[in-house]
């Protein structure tokens, strides 16, 4: 063979694009993730009433103050009770509906799946506002109806109670729990249940004696995972819990760092943040323990077996009704918001009011400079956060899956670490870190926040995508003479494109609905839709807040639902 001439490039350039990109990536992720965590730890031991980064003093006074304060046990107790209660109810509802759709011949399965995915897109903030309109003790619609129809004295329900907070959160966690439990059921070997049936068990006996016990380890780990999410949750405790005087840790951290009046106490709020972080870490450890012991119970076998669904007979439609009941409960607050947005002043739903309905509120809010600025900011925030998250995650995933070694593992661990940090704590740490920089008060600080929070999800998505991609596909490009960048651009990226798009959508939807980061880091310049809704509600401009909320929900549904429809059609076709 004759020697071919190769294009020559300078030696330093040849010294690996790959290495250079890897080092830049490590630095970026390190700053994004370790920066806030370091600041949080530093601030928690700073003297009170100082800017934590402008002093060298170290004191554990804040921790002492927290544990001596009489309210602390209540707050921690509230947090745990809140998480346990709402996850408990949420998982029970989700398991029931998941079992119906995966294992019985209930009608309308596709409808149930799509509705569940659609609900995941609805911001909890908006649901919370809807519930306040429905069941506040004064003029909540359901309470007024109860008074008029049944002559109930006082209020039938009250939004401002621990029960309401728990139940509303429980309804809100159902869609996520449903998706996880449905996956669990789908991966379970149906032969175990078939054996039960062949040996004479009735449908319900099999469900109770075989399906449920087999599911228990999986349900347990899903429960812990959801618990982790609820402990970190911020928006519902903020809008319902504060008025109801049910402080939990996340709202405590928020009030200390962004107080309504007075000076923020960063030292105390950081110390609270560290305690909350410790609880989240404990739950995460429990979660990993649970999935590891769950592995032993794994009953996944070859695909392709589809269990024969349990015939519900005459109970089919009543069973379908129970699932629809859940969706109706979920739809009520949205309908209430839609109604409220149509009138200049809040009025009870009635036929007489209907002719007065108008779109004036929508014209008004869309004309407002604040909302316009928020719209621009939101588009910037959502598009940039989602794109940057997916770019960074794809690279991190490549290095951790293909690069191997300590370097890849370091990137993997770094990008997973934010999972344990509650967003409100992360937001506060970012606030302390960036408050003296020009980034503070711009959309960029919000983007940094969302990058840090969502990088873990993006990395999980892309890691599992790359693991499924045969290593030789990329190797073949390299051996063919293509550079590393070309192999990523021409081979790897086109092949994992669906997962990239899916991850992008997820991050975009969450970035649009997130209230934590925008609220903690809010200035007059960097308002986004979520923070505008909250401010208008607080002002109060309830009809305006309702109108903007409704627009946000519609926008999210327009983006998310068609993709889910496509995905669910593809998965039914694929037999999975």
């Amino acid at each position: 063979m004759s020697m071919k001439t190769i294009g020559h490039s300078p030696a330093w350039l040849r010294l690996d694009q790959q290495k250079v990109v890897g080092i830049v990536l490590l630095v970026v992720i390190g700053v994004l993730v370790l920066g806030p965590i370091a600041v949080l730890l530093r601030s928690s031991v700073a003297p009170p009433n100082t800017m934590p980064l402008e002093t060298l003093g170290i004191t554990f006074g804040s921790f002492v103050a927290i544990f001596q304060h009489p309210a602390t046990p209540t707050i921690i107790g509230n947090t745990l009770l809140y998480a346990a209660g709402s996850v408990g109810f949420g998982v029970i509802i989700a398991t029931w509906i998941a079992w119906l759709t995966e294992r019985t011949d209930i009608p309308g399965k596709a409808l149930i799946r799509v509705l569940m995915f659609a609900w995941m897109a609805v911001p909890p903030l908006v649901i919370g506002f809807g519930w306040i309109l429905l069941i506040n003790p004064g003029n909540g619609v359901l309470n007024v109806l109860a008074r008029e129809l049944f002559g109930v004295q006082g209020a039938l329900f009250t939004i401002y109670s621990f029960w309401s907070l728990i139940m509303i959160t429980a309804f809100a966690v159902v869609p996520t729990a449903f998706v996880m439990i449905a996956g669990l059921l789908r991966n379970m070997d149906p032969q175990m249940e078939s054996a039960g049936k062949v040996l004479g068990g009735s449908g319900f006996a099999v469900a109770r004696r075989i399906t449920l016990p087999l599911l228990t380890p999986g349900l347990f780990s899903i429960g812990i995972y959801m618990g982790m999410a609820v402990v970190q949750a911020f928006d519902l405790p903020l809008i319902i819990g504060l008025t109801a005087k049910i402080p939990v840790m996340s709202t405590r951290v928020f009030l200390l760092s962004v107080p309504d009046n007075g000076i923020p106490d960063y030292a105390l709020s950081s110390a609270f943040g560290v305690v909350l972080l410790a609880i989240a870490l404990l739950l995460m450890w429990a979660y990993f323990r649970a999935i590891r012991s769950g592995e032993r119970f794994r009953t996944v076998t070859g695909r392709g077996f589809r269990p024969k669904p349990t015939a519900l007979g005459p109970l089919r439609w009543p069973a379908f009704g129970t699932a629809m009941l859940y969706f109706m409960i979920m739809a009520l607050p949205l309908l209430m918001l839609a109604w409220t947005s149509l009138f200049p002043f809040y009025r009870l739903p009635s036929m007489e009011s209907l002719p007065l309905a108008s779109l004036d509120n929508y014209h008004r809010v869309l004309d407002s400079a604040l909302v316009q600025r928020a719209l621009v900011n939101t588009v910037l925030l959502v598009v940039l956060s989602a794109s940057l998250v997916m770019l960074l995650s794809s690279l991190v995933a490549w290095f951790s899956v293909r690069g191997g070694g300590r370097f890849g593992r370091a990137l993997d661990v770094l990008s997973f670490a934010p999972t344990a940090v509650p967003p409100v704590v992360m937001a506060m740490a970012i606030l302390i870190l960036y408050i003296k920089t020009p980034l503070y008060g711009t959309v960029w600080v919000l983007i940094i926040g969302h990058l840090t929070i969502y990088i873990a999800f993006g990395t999980r998505t892309m890691t599992s995508a790359l693991i499924q991609l045969h290593k030789e596909l990329g190797d073949a490009a390299l051996v063919s003479g293509a550079s590393w960048a070309t192999s990523l651009r021409r081979i790897i990226l086109p092949l994992v494109w669906p997962q990239v798009a899916n991850g992008w959508l997820w991050v975009a939807a969450h970035s649009a609905r997130d209230l934590t980061i925008p609220l903690v880091l809010m200035t007059t310049n960097n308002v986004v839709i979520a923070s505008v809704v909250y401010t208008m509600w607080d002002f109060p401009d309830v009809p305006g807040a309702a109108a903007v909320s409704f627009l946000l929900v519609v926008a999210l549904l327009i983006v998310v639902v068609p993709v889910q429809l496509l995905a669910s059609r593809a998965s039914t076709r694929g037999g999975g």
């Binding site: 690996d16 073949a476 051996v479 003479g481 081979i491």
Partner: protein, 367 residues
């Protein structure tokens, strides 16, 4: 063409497995235009070796030279990345890119490789190589719509289109069904030899290795046990492992006596005479291929002739395998399918001395 010297590679211990010494000082040479096979059981290090040559894996130490260009030399800290080694490679999974047509797959090394080539020339060269592998009519088809054999041809065309210095084949036949594999074995060798491309071929199948290669190296536990022509290694194995791996054989341990020319080996089936190997051995293993054993009627005397009784017969069609009890042991034999032998029939087995090979008792550890 390719020179490999003292290559070592150890995969460090992980939390769930001990360290693996995949290569422990491997050296070999491939002459220009040769079809060379690396043969060995799974885990012997042959795939690691191939990955190191391709540049997809970095060895710990040693040297790899291609056509007088060093591509890896630990002493100088030199490691040329895979995309600058000017190689062609057919992967075990074929690694056909499913989002591209056959044409785009094959054009990739020309369009995105180190050479800068115009569109017209790319077109011309891709057509030519597709015709060569008889896939000219499939250029616009999407890769997933191809059969296994067609995918293998695409992979081959892609590996050849940029006229690589060295062609690497990683178990290219293992994903084909048995019939197609037989056909492709001959076709692949003919094609590569007609182009004169030096080829390194990795396989765990000794039939493929023998049928296709000019020379082969047998690997085990990260070292080369024996190398030479297929005929050499089959006929003159140096270890019991080599004998056993290259095909069915009788391995009969025994004590050695005598010297000069003919030795006597005391075994469970009797005293067997055989030619002396290079080094003197007090004990050893006699290697006798089942095909080497002659079968005669009962009560025949002669050198290395033993009385036996047929103990087992398996009729496989093109051959009949049998087992004959001789003395306190037994030997596997191949019987002519047209010869009718009954169970328990008394016969004589003859082990011709020139077909008996004595190897050291501990197989595989000598190099």
């Amino acid at each position: 063409m390719l020179t490999v010297r003292n290559l070592t590679k150890t995969y460090p211990a992980r939390h769930d497995s001990a360290a693996v010494r995949a290569l422990r000082g491997v050296s070999f040479d491939i002459a220009d235009g040769d079809f060379f096979a690396l043969l060995g059981p799974s885990g012997c290090g042959k795939t690691t070796m191939l990955q190191c040559i391709a540049g997809l894996e970095v060895p710990d130490s040693g040297e790899i030279t291609m056509a007088d260009d060093a591509v890896y030399a630990s002493a100088r800290g030199l490691n040329v990345p895979a995309n600058r080694r000017q190689l062609g490679m057919v992967f075990q999974s074929y690694a056909i890119w499913p989002h591209m047509t056959v044409f785009d797959n094959v054009a990739f090394p020309l369009a995105h490789g180190a050479q800068k080539i115009g569109k017209a020339e790319i077109d011309e060269r891709v057509r030519r190589v597709l015709d060569l592998v008889k896939l000219g009519a499939f250029a616009d088809r999407l890769a997933p719509h191809l059969s296994g054999g067609q995918q293998q041809r695409v992979a081959l065309a892609r590996a050849l289109v940029h006229e690589p210095r060295l062609l690497l084949l990683d178990e290219p036949l293992s994903n084909l069904d048995a019939k197609l594999r037989d056909a492709m074995r001959i076709e692949l060798r003919q094609l590569v030899k007609s182009l004169g491309i030096t080829t390194l071929f990795v396989t765990h199948d000794q039939v493929e290795a023998m049928g296709m290669s000019d020379k082969l190296a047998l690997m085990r536990d990260g070292v080369i046990v024996q190398q030479g022509t297929p005929h050499d290694i089959y006929m003159r194995p140096e270890t019991a492992f080599a004998a056993d791996f290259m095909g069915r054989s009788n391995l009969i341990p025994g004590r050695v006596s005598g010297s000069d020319g003919m030795l006597s080996v005391e075994t469970s089936i009797g005293t067997i005479r055989c030619p002396a190997p290079a080094e003197g051995l007090p004990e050893g293993i006699l290697v006798i291929r089942p095909q080497a054993i002659r079968l005669h009627g009962p009560s025949i005397d002669g050198l290395n002739c033993f009385a036996g009784r047929v103990e087992r017969i398996s009729f496989l069609g093109d051959v009949v395998e049998g087992e004959v009890r001789v003395g306190a042991g037994s030997v596997k034999v191949v019987i002519d399918p047209y010869r009718l032998l009954a169970m328990n029939q008394e016969i004589t087995v003859e082990l011709p001395p020139e077909r008996c090979v004595l190897v050291p008792a501990e197989g595989g550890t000598t190099t």
